[in-house]
């Protein structure tokens, strides 16, 4: 009896990690690194996390969790509240609906999918922020940030995958 309780607690803790990791990446994304030009081209870490978990473990990262992550991202980055919520939810919705297509495909396909989804996300946030401020925001920085995010994706995807295999197991 006692062991089942522990087993359940253990499973619950493990199942919370995709959400936890994504939250931590939101915080890591705003920690000042005092590097020249870093802040402007910092990769969008939560975008990668939402993409990955939506594809591999959507049950462990439900839509309301994505909502909370987007909210925290908006609050901490000083962006108008709602922008990142919409962007993250869009990524989530698109990826979850296309899960069957990605199932069992190679990593290259997953990366290509990320390239498309992240491009859409960058365009969406640019449009939303420009609309809210009623002015065209400089798109060059957005483009650079997108490319950096794309380049960093394999590293983080590897980390998420190994976490998934070692901690979460099959599920």
């Amino acid at each position: 009896m006692k062991s089942t309780v522990w087993y359940r607690l253990d499973a619950l803790a493990k199942n919370l990690t995709p959400f936890g990791i994504t939250l931590i990446l939101v915080l890591v994304g705003v920690v000042p690194l005092f590097l020249p030009v870093y802040a402007r081209v910092a990769p969008l870490l939560p975008v990668m996390a939402v993409y990955h978990w939506a594809m591999h473990r959507p049950r462990l990262l439900p839509a309301y969790a994505v909502f909370l992550i987007g909210f925290l991202q908006d609050v901490l980055t000083g962006m108008p509240i709602g922008v990142n919520i919409v962007v993250f939810l869009t990524i989530y919705g698109v990826v979850v609906s296309q899960r069957r297509f990605f199932a069992g495909k190679s990593f290259l396909i997953s990366w290509l999918g990320f390239a498309l989804v992240a491009a859409g996300a960058a365009a969406e946030s640019w449009l939303l922020v420009s609309a809210i401020h009623v002015t065209l925001v400089d798109a060059r920085a957005v483009l650079v940030q997108y490319l950096v995010t794309l380049g960093c994706f394999p590293v983080f995807a590897w980390f998420f995958l190994s976490w998934q295999r070692s901690v979460l197991g099959q599920g």
Binding site: P32, L76, G78, I81
Partner: protein, 301 residues
């Protein structure tokens, strides 16, 4: 998928699916509603933002420390490498500053005499708080920093943030133990400035790039690169004569200013309360309206 064999689950699955879809759409609609609310009721949204930032400020504080320490170590090594050159430069600078000190002493004495003659009311001394930067959000969409000092430490909304180099920005919102600092490069930052040598008035408007633009200059105003920009003090939001930057480029597309403060070197800032409330406290219609932006949006006509 917990137990697909159970008949209850087989019936419940489509319903659950439908519910999930509705929940998803509901969340998206809520997000859009939040965006509209942010446009309509800035005061409330800023308060929520301040509270949430306050809650995670201790975590950010801890997370930013190792990075800061690593940077200090790197800096120390770098300083050791060019110690001799640095020493030479500092000797020269000391000699130069000593000459300036003599001038300043004479000026101070003269100023004192003249003030006494005029019965001049001196400006009240400013109080300041030093704060550490715990989050850097200077991306393509906003340019702000989060500081580890808030209302508890005496940081007030509207206070001016400076470093030894010059103006950094203005406190846009304060929580209990954290504050959001809007940089002069932010899209919402509009600061009344002066070209120091010619005395021409202008507005320094950020556009989320590293170099803010100089706008609202008088017609045919001659501006040359290298000219110093200081705050003008108009509008009562900033004290006059704070160093801001130098004119970096003058072209058809506009005048760009290179701020004195290099953003990626900001680790500590000094938040100074000059006792200026500026437009933030001006009563509009019947109730006081707090603006979300830190700058002064419109110049005097």
């Amino acid at each position: 998928m917990k137990d697909p064999q159970r008949p209850v689950y087989r019936i419940a699955a489509p319903i659950k699916n439908l519910a999930q879809r509705f929940a998803y759409m509901g969340l998206v609609v809520t997000a859009f509603a939040l965006m509209l609310l942010g446009k309509a009721d800035t005061v409330m949204v800023e308060r929520v933002r301040a509270h949430v930032t306050d809650a995670v400020a201790p975590i950010l504080d801890v997370m930013s420390r190792p990075v800061a320490t690593a940077n200090e170590v790197i800096d120390q090594v770098r300083e050791l490498v060019d110690l001799r050159a640095e020493n030479q430069r500092l000797r020269q600078e000391k000699a130069r500053l000593l000459r300036w000190q003599t001038v300043a002493r004479r000026m101070e004495a003269e100023n004192g005499t003249l003030r006494a003659m005029l019965n001049f009311n001196a400006v009240p001394p400013a109080s300041f708080v030093s704060a550490r930067v715990i989050a850097d959000n200077s991306g393509a969409f906003s340019q702000s920093l989060v500081l580890n000092a808030g209302a508890r430490e005496g940081v007030r909304k509207g206070s001016v943030a400076i470093t030894g180099d010059g103006l950094v920005g203005r406190i846009a919102a304060t929580g209990n133990r954290s504050a959001r600092l809007l940089l002069i490069t932010d899209l919402n930052s509009h600061i009344p400035v002066l070209l120091e040598s010619s005395g021409i008035r202008a507005i320094l408007a950020g556009d989320n790039t590293d170099r803010p633009r100089l706008i609202r200059l008088p017609q045919r105003a001659a501006v040359t690169p290298g000219e110093r920009i200081v705050t003008s003090g108009h509008g009562g939001a900033f004290p006059p004569r704070l160093p801001v930057g130098v004119v970096a480029s003058v072209s058809e597309s506009g005048i760009r200013v290179q701020p004195f403060v290099e953003r990626n070197h900001i680790e500590y800032v000094r938040v100074v309360d000059f006792g200026l409330s500026g437009i933030l406290a001006l009563p509009q219609s019947t109730r006081p309206v707090a603006k979300p932006s830190a700058g002064q949006p419109t110049p005097d006509p």
